[in-house]
Each structure stands twice: as structure tokens, then as C-alpha cells.
Amino acid sequence: MKFHDQTEMGGTRGAFLTTHWSLIEDVKASSDKDKALIGLLLQTYWKPVYCYLRRKGRDNEQAKDLTQDFFHEVVLNRHLVGRADKSKGRFRSFLLYTLNQYLINHDRDNSAQKRIPGKKLASLDTTEIPDLPESFSTAKAEDSFHYAWLSSLLEHVVAQVKNTCKENDMEIHWAIFKERVLEPILCASESVSLTELCERHGIEDTKKASNMIVTVKRRFRSVLMEHVRNTVISDEQATEELQYLLQFLPENAQRQE
């Protein structure tokens, strides 16, 4: 395949792929690596791309197809990676920029399809059609991208923390964390008192419960930072990236300065 050239990896531009690459080091066969990488990227980042495409006017099926094609293109066609100078180390920006470029090219020249193998190496496996929250119903495509990015990030963190708890026999830890911290935030439900939690889950005293929650919180935090760190190229950038996410507002919100 023309663009299938692993030696082109490296440098800032290839860094993100390298980061993710390192996550699948154990895959041996070379063609499997591409497949694994595409799969990984798809799985982790399909939502922002999908939302962006929807906002750009594609319907559900088109958006899903394009999403898959896009990630194939990113991995298989290093050219696309090569053009992302502007992102300065942020995968989020890089992805958005590349996506935009991809769309431009795609619209301009449908023969781009030919470069992608007819049979997909990895596919988008979902039947869900995510709905953006209300405040984003009229937002620009870029804003939707960022919203979806943020929510995807959190979803993955939550999922990973949950899994870790399960694997380490910390189911109760997870449960009380969920009830006391997660759900109140997400569903605006009333926070459960520590005493009640102790009763419900058979914990000795409130102090213990408190510590358990703190443990999960710490874990949550470090997983969050790790995920953010994966998408940038330096620790300093990680802090700034998190700040950006904290401050991100859709265009029509009022800002000062």
C-alpha cells in the first residue's frame, strides 16, 4: 500500500499516533498494527468526529461512514498527519484540523475513497445516535466537536475507573463513589449522606466510607490526567489542555477580554 510506511512516524506530528501506538505494542504482525490502531482511534475518538460531521450536514449513515473512512485515512495515509503543523502538539486540535482537511479533500475529490481498502480494517460498532445537549443544539461544528471530545474523554475515564475497581475487588468503592459523587453531578440528584451509604453497603463507619471515596477520586483524577496527557506532548501542555477544557465555552456565550 502506497502510504503504509511505518518509518514515517516520528516527530511532533507523529507523536500522538506514537503515543497510541505504544499502547498496542504487543500486537505483532505489521498489518495488525494498523488495524489495531485504527480500531483504537475509532473507539476512543469517533464521537467528536461523528458530531462534527453531523453538524456539517451529513446524515447519520454518511457521518458514520465518513468517520470510519477518516480514521482509516489518518492511519494509513501519513500525508494527512504531515499537514497538521498548526496543532502544536494537541491531538484534539490536530484531529479537528485534519478532519477539516479531510472533508475538504473528500468533497473535492471523491477518488480519495480509492485509497482506502474496500474492506474496512476496523469499523464503527454502534447503533447509538448520540444527542447533543440543548445548549449545543445550534452550536457550530467545532464547538460540537469539542463538546463531544470532552464528553468522550470523561466517558472513557469513568469506564476505566469503573473497570479498575471491578478488577481489584473494589465494587463497593465504585458504588459509593457513584452514588455520592458521580450521580449528583450528572443527574442533579440529591447527594446521599455518608451514614446512609454505610447502611446501604455495610460499611463500618463514615470515616471508612469517606476514605474509600477519596481513593476512587484520586484514581479518577490520575486516570483523567493520564488520558489528557496522552493527547499532548508535554506535561506542561497537559495542565494547559485541562484548563482549556475547563474554560471551553460555545461561541455564543459571553466572554470577557
Binding site: E155, P184, I185, L186, Q256, E257
Partner: protein
């Protein structure tokens, strides 16, 4: 509801709260914070949304130095403050030290228009922060535009700012980062109150203009080089003084008045750091009125925010108002206002209709600016212009009584700088002046009415303009100005006065070039006559007039002997008083040679011509016009004698010089080119003739247009050439270019 459902689809602020999970050590859920609508925490390794005794409430904004939070102080006093956390990468210790050095002074800053700086410190994570009075307002430029403040209102608002800055300066504190976002304006009890923030911080933080300050962060550019003074841009931070703030205030005023920056942001930033530094240090900003005029449609918007119209605004600026910000923005800080209070005073002067401290840019300043822009033409136009102005002054002063000399010199100088060069600037903009003509045109246009009670001054300027026009071949404009010069001269002078006679002689000469030979001769003869009576025989003016009269006789009337006689007279005179090889003789000798030639006395002509050329070359160098005239003259003589090789050498040299100095289209170039072409034609060197004739046709078409006798003549020359050369196809090609009626005649 599955987990992922509840994350994707949740409102943004909920997601953000998830991002902050794990910051506090305590086990509490977010219940405490649900009361607040937007509870954002600083990201530090240390838990808690607090820094010292300040609890962070929300983000006010983000700037070049870092993020500004709204915070609440709940120890000692309970109050709202603005907390600015500096971006990582600053050397916190040094900054704090610098800040501490100023802290005492800062504490003494007590002015209603200056925001207090209360405190500074470092977070446990090592991030530097400052605590300041919280000002709830908008940047001054935004405020003025939003409320559509008039120019006068803006000036009054700006006055308050000046006074505040002055107060700080008196306490020894320089701001160093004055810009709109550091001057917040709010409405307090029906009063418009500006407050300057960040006093003492910029200096402590001390951000130099480096690549870092312009890092693009999510496509927002930080750092505001537009307001940076030249000395700050220069990086010699050691001796920045209060005048640096004056500069920034000047830029601010500029923006308040016009709506645009003196240096356009986009063009400033596109060149990179060194370019930015250079522009700030060296380029003179366009005057506000010029900037406004260039904006076109956009200008209307700016005028509207000032409740006025573009024309009115431009006029107002141009008269005087724009001098104020420009004075504050001088590159040389010694030329700026000496203090913020002097700055304020001048604004008050303006508002009260009193003459300003800031004057119009001086003649020297404008000329320097003009010269700088026309550097490549230094030996050409700029120099000529300088000589022109000086020449006018000198020649005028001869006619003026002593006590008025200084004033008159100044008046002339001012006329050129304020009325002429000032008008030229917007015309030429970034492009250098290509020729003297537009400058002459403007001067001629604006001269009327300027010196009504001093006709001799105007006459003198008209005379100079007239000569310049003649020199560049614009005979009609020359005639108009010289006629006026004579008219004006006649008001105060008689034909006994040298000045008037000189003007008359010049006018007559122009008549000759216009082909008005009778008038030329009449006037010139009269002039010579009067001169012989009124002036000393050694007077150059008389010699020049005789010389010209002689040419008239020679060229137009075949009155060769009379011409010869005039020249011989003059030469004898010169020889007697100055010696046989005096440079003055060269020009007259050329004429004498021509007179001999016309009478067929070729050997004598050759002798004289050679001598003349030798003298001219020695005295004036190879390129001076007298030398070239003599080259051409000798060439003609040699041609008549059949010494073609020598002729060719002389003509080729002469043509090259003419072309280079006067251009392809000048009539003198035309003459020598055509002489050379005839020579080649006679020698039957057709391939050498061709390029000359092509050039001649091109020049003629450019100068005279498509249907002019000279243009047509040059086409005919080409047709003749090709026919003589036996190239009928080429001939035909050119025949097509003749207008029909002409072609038929061939």
C-alpha cells in the same frame, strides 16, 4: 440510563464539574458547590479551590500574562478581588523580588483611577499570583465605542487616565503595559470612571518581546506589541522611564480618536519578532487623518462610534488634534511630552481652543520622513527638492529687506513642509515619489493666496517652480509659473532690477521651447537690452541671456553672424576677467562652435568644440549637462567632417548618460538618440539603427500618445528603415500602426 448516556448529553457545566473531581481531599460530593452557578477551580497539585486566603469564584478572563479570576477574600477583610495567576514559565522568585521592591511605592498609590494591588505570592505549585482590586468594567476602547462617546467626551475620559498615570509617575511607578484592556471603565453613580489596572505588575513580570509572548494559543495572540514603546521593543530594559508610558498613552489616544491602531496589527505581526521590533523602532506611523482616509468603508463605522462623519472627523484630526498623539509617539523620547500632565495639559489646550504645545511636524521632520521613504532616489528627487527649497529661500532673500529675512525664510520653509510635503504624503503613501512633477504641481496649486502681501516671495517661488518644470520638459506649466513670476515682480520691481530681468529672461526661454519664436526673441532682446544698462557686464545673468538670444538667432533665423558676435563678445569678456580656460566659457564655446558650423567653418568649429569639451570635462566631470552638451556638439561637428567613428563614440556616450539621468522620454534624450540613429543610417548600419528607432517610437508613444505627429514621425522612421534595409514585411507591420490618412501618404 446507562453511564455513557448520562455523560454524553449532559450539559457542559456538569461535565466541567466532573473534570474537577479529585481536586479536594475531602470526601464531600459537590453539594457545597451546587449553590454556585459556576464553580471553577484552579488547577494546582494542591487541593482546594483556594489560594491563600482567597477563594476562587469564577474566571474573569485570560490575558497575555495568565488567567484572572474573581475571588473572595475571607480573612482579615471580606471583599471581592481580582486574582491574576501568571502563566508557568516565569521565574517566580525574581518576579516576586521585583514586585517586593515596588510594593511600598505601590501601597502609596492612592488614586481614584488606579486599581490597588494588594498582594502577591506563589501557590504551592509554584505558580505566581497577584491580588488586585476587582474592577468591573470594560476596556476603555470598547466602552467608548459601545456608548458612542464623542471625540470631546473621549478626550475628557482620556484626561482622567493621564492624571492617574501622572500620579503614579510622581510616586516613581511606571506602568509599562498601558493598553485598552488595562484601563477598565465602568459607570459608578452615574459617573464614568476609568481605572487603570496592573500597575506594578508588568514591570515585575517583565515580559520582553520574544517569540514566547506571541505564542498562538488556540489562535489567540498574546502580547500587545502595538502599544510597546520603541525603547521597550529595543530590549534595553535598563533605562525605561516614564516616557515609555507616554508613548503607550499616545497610541491609546490614537485609537480612541480614530478607531484604528497606528500600525496595523496584521501587517505588524506577519513579519515575526524582528520585523515587529523594527517597525516600532523605525517606522513613522501614518497620521490619524491619513489612516482614516485610507480605510474606505470601515472609516464610516469608526466615525459613527464617535457620533460624527468621516469627513468631519478627518478634518478635525488633520487641523491640530492629531498632533497630540503623534507627539506622544515620537521615536525619540526627548521629543515626546515630558510628562503625563503635560500631555493632559495639551489636551486641555485643545479643548479650550488654545494653541498646542505639540506643533505640526517640523519641516525637518517631514523632510526627513520624505527622504527616508525616497531613499533610493536620494541623488535624484529628494536632493533636488532640498536644493529647490534652499534655492528658493536664497533667491528670495536677495529681494527682501534684512529684518524680514528670517521670517520669510521660515515662511517659505513652512509652506513647503506643511502645505506641499504634507499634501504629498497621503498621495504617495508607501510608494516612493517617482518624479518631481507631483510635488511641483501641489506647490504650484497651493501657492495661490499664501503670500498675498509679499508678492516677491511668491514670485520667487514661482520662478523656481517654473525652472524646474522647464527642466523636466513641462513647458506649459513652466510658462504659467514664470508668467506669474514676472507679473508679481512687476508689482514691486522695475526693469532696472536684476530679479525681474532674470524672470523675464527665463520666460522668454520657455517661449522658445514652446516654439513661440517671435515672442521669445522680442522678450529676450528687451531683457538683454535692459540688462546691459542695469547690470554689470560681468554679471552672469547677462551672459546667460545673451547666450540664449544667440541660440535663438542661430536656430530659428539663420542669423548666424549676429549669433557669432554675441558669443564672441561674451567669451572675450570671460577671457579678459577670468582667463581662457574658465569653466564659464564652456557653455558659450559650444554656441560659438555651432555658429561656425552653421557658416560652414568646420575646422574652426572643431577646434572650439574640442576645447569646450575639455574645459567642461575638467571643470564639471563627465556627466554634467554642460559636458554632455559639448559632447553632442563635438559629435555634430565630427559628423559634418566625416569622422564617423569619433562621432559614434561621442553620441553613444552622450545617449547613455542622457538616458540614465533624464530617462528615455526626455526631449534631450530624444534628440541625441535621433542624431545617433541618423549617423548609423548614413553608415548603413541598419541593425544598429533599429533598436534606437524602436526605443524612440516607444518613448514617443508614451509621451505623446497614439495620434501625435511625433509618434507618427517615429513610426515613419521605422518604415523608412525597413524599406532601406530591404525588409518589406517589417515595414508593412509598422505601416499598419499609422493612422489611415497618414499611411496613405507613404
Amino acid at each position: 440510563m446507562t453511564q455513557s448516556d448520562s455523560i454524553f448529553g449532559a450539559e457542559l457545566d456538569r461535565l466541567k464539574r466532573l473534570l474537577t473531581v479529585g481536586e479536594e481531599e475531602c470526601d464531600e460530593g459537590p453539594s457545597e458547590h451546587t449553590q454556585r452557578t459556576a464553580s471553577l477551580h484552579i488547577l494546582t497539585d494542591r487541593p482546594g479551590g483556594r489560594i491563600g486566603r482567597y477563594k476562587l469564584m469564577s474566571i474573569l478572563g485570560e490575558g497575555g500574562m495568565g488567567i484572572v479570576y474573581l475571588a473572595e477574600q475571607d480573612e482579615a477583610i471580606k471583599r471581592q478581588v481580582a486574582l491574576k495567576v501568571i502563566k508557568p514559565g516565569m521565574d517566580s522568585n525574581r518576579v516576586i523580588t521585583r514586585f517586593e521592591a515596588e510594593r511600598q511605592a505601590l501601597a502609596m498609590l492612592d488614586h481614584p483611577n488606579i486599581a490597588h494591588v494588594y498582594d502577591a505570592g506563589t501557590t504551592e505549585a509554584g505558580r505566581l499570583y497577584f491580588v488586585m482590586e476587582y474592577v468591573n468594567g470594560s476596556p476603555i476602547t470598547e466602552y467608548c465605542d459601545r456608548h458612542k462617546l464623542t471625540i470631546d467626551d473621549r478626550l475628557r475620559l482620556f484626561l482622567q487616565v493621564c492624571h492617574a498615570v501622572h500620579h503614579a509617575h510622581q510616586k516613581g511607578i511606571i506602568h509599562r503595559d498601558i493598553k485598552p484592556s488595562n484601563i477598565l471603565v465602568s459607570n459608578q453613580d452615574d459617573q464614568v470612571v476609568p481605572k487603570i489596572i496592573d500597575f506594578g505588575i508588568a514591570k515585575a513580570v517583565n515580559q520582553p518581546l520574544t517569540e514566547r509572548t506571541l505564542i498562538t494559543e488556540q489562535d489567540r495572540l498574546f502580547g500587545t506589541p502595538e502599544y510597546m514603546s520603541p525603547e521597550q521593543a529595543d530590549m534595553t530594559r535598563e533605562d525605561i522611564d516614564t516616557r515609555s508610558d507616554i508613548y503607550s498613552l499616545g497610541v491609546l489616544l490614537y485609537v480612541l480618536l480614530t478607531g484604528v491602531l497606528p500600525f496595523d496589527s496584521d501587517t505588524l505581526r506577519e513579519g515575526g519578532i524582528d520585523h515587529i521590533r523594527q517597525v516600532i523602532r523605525e517606522s513613522d506611523p501614518k497620521t490619524p487623518s491619513t489612516r482614516l482616509a485610507r480605510l474606505g468603508e470601515e472609516a464610516r463605522k469608526h466615525a459613527e462610534s464617535r457620533r460624527t462623519e468621516v469627513a468631519t472627523l478627518a478634518r478635525r484630526l488633520h487641523k491640530e488634534l492629531e498632533w497630540i498623539p503623534l507627539k506622544a509617539m515620537r521615536k525619540d523620547r526627548a521629543e515626546r511630552y515630558r510628562s503625563a500632565s503635560e500631555f493632559a495639559d495639551d489636551i486641555e489646550n485643545y479643548l479650550n481652543g488654545v494653541p498646542l504645545i505639540a506643533g505640526p511636524p517640523s519641516a525637518a521632520y517631514r523632510l526627513r520622513k520624505f527622504m527616508r521613504r525616497n531613499r533610493s532616489l536620494a541623488t535624484g528627487i529628494a536632493a533636488v527638492l532640498a536644493v529647490l527649497i534652499a534655492g528658493v529661500i536664497v533667491s528670495t532673500l536677495f529681494a527682501i529687506r534684512a529684518e524680514r529675512k528670517a521670517r520669510t525664510a521660515q515662511a517659505i520653509s513652512d509652506f513647503f513642509s506643511n502645505d506641499v510635503l504634507a499634501a504629498v504624503d497621503p498621495l504617495t503613501g508607501e510608494k516612493p515619489v517617482a518624479s518631481l512633477e507631483p510635488i511641483l504641481d501641489i506647490a504650484a496649486q497651493r501657492l495661490g493666496g499664501k503670500f498675498d502681501d509679499e508678492p516677491l516671495v511668491e514670485a520667487s517661488i514661482r520662478y523656481t517652480l517654473g525652472r524646474r518644470y522647464w527642466h523636466i520638459g513641462k513647458f506649459d506649466a513652466a510658462e504659467a509659473n514664470l508668467t506669474r513670476a514676472v507679473e508679481l515682480g512687476r508689482k514691486r520691481l522695475t526693469t532696472n532690477d536684476r530679479q525681474l530681468l532674470v524672470y523675464m529672461g527665463e520666460l522668454a526661454w520657455v517661449y522658445a521651447y514652446q516654439g513661440r519664436n517671435d515672442e521669445a526673441e522680442a522678450l529676450l532682446a528687451k531683457t538683454v537690452d535692459c540688462m546691459e544698462r542695469a547690470l554689470d557686464e560681468a554679471d552672469r545673468a547677462l551672459q546667460v541671456a545673451k547666450n540664449r538670444l544667440a541660440w535663438l538667432y542661430l536656430d530659428q533665423y539663420g542669423r548666424h553672424e549676429e549669433a557669432e558676435q554675441l558669443w564672441t563678445e561674451v567669451l572675450e569678456d570671460i577671457q579678459r576677467r577670468l582667463g581662457p580656460d574658465h569653466p564659464d566659457a564652456a557653455g558659450h564655446m559650444e554656441g560659438l562652435a555651432a555658429a561656425y558650423m552653421a557658416q560652414g567653418r568646420l575646422d574652426e568649429a572643431e577646434k572650439v568644440a574640442r576645447k569646450a569639451l575639455e574645459i567642461a570635462q575638467r571643470a564639471y566631470g563627465p556627466e554634467f549637462f554642460t559636458t554632455v552638451h559639448n559632447m553632442e556638439r563635438l559629435g555634430k561637428v565630427c559628423k559634418a567632417l566625416g569622422h564617423y567613428d569619433e562621432t559614434e563614440g561621442l553620441y553613444v556616450k552622450a545617449l547613455e548618460i542622457r538616458r540614465r539621468i533624464l530617462g528615455e522620454e526626455h526631449w534631450r534624450t530624444r534628440d541625441v538618440r535621433s542624431d545617433l540613429a541618423s549617423l548609423y543610417l548614413e553608415m548603413e548600419r541598419y541593425s544598429d539603427v533599429e533598436p534606437l528607432l524602436v526605443e524612440a517610437e516607444r518613448a514617443a508613444r508614451r509621451t505623446f500618445g497614439n495620434d501625435h505627429e511625433i509618434t507618427n514621425a517615429s513610426v515613419k522612421n521605422l518604415i523608412d528603415l525597413y524599406e532601406a534595409w530591404n525588409k518589406p514585411e517589417q515595414a508593412a507591420q509598422w505601416r499598419v500602426k499609422l493612422p489611415e490618412r497618414q499611411a496613405k501618404l507613404l
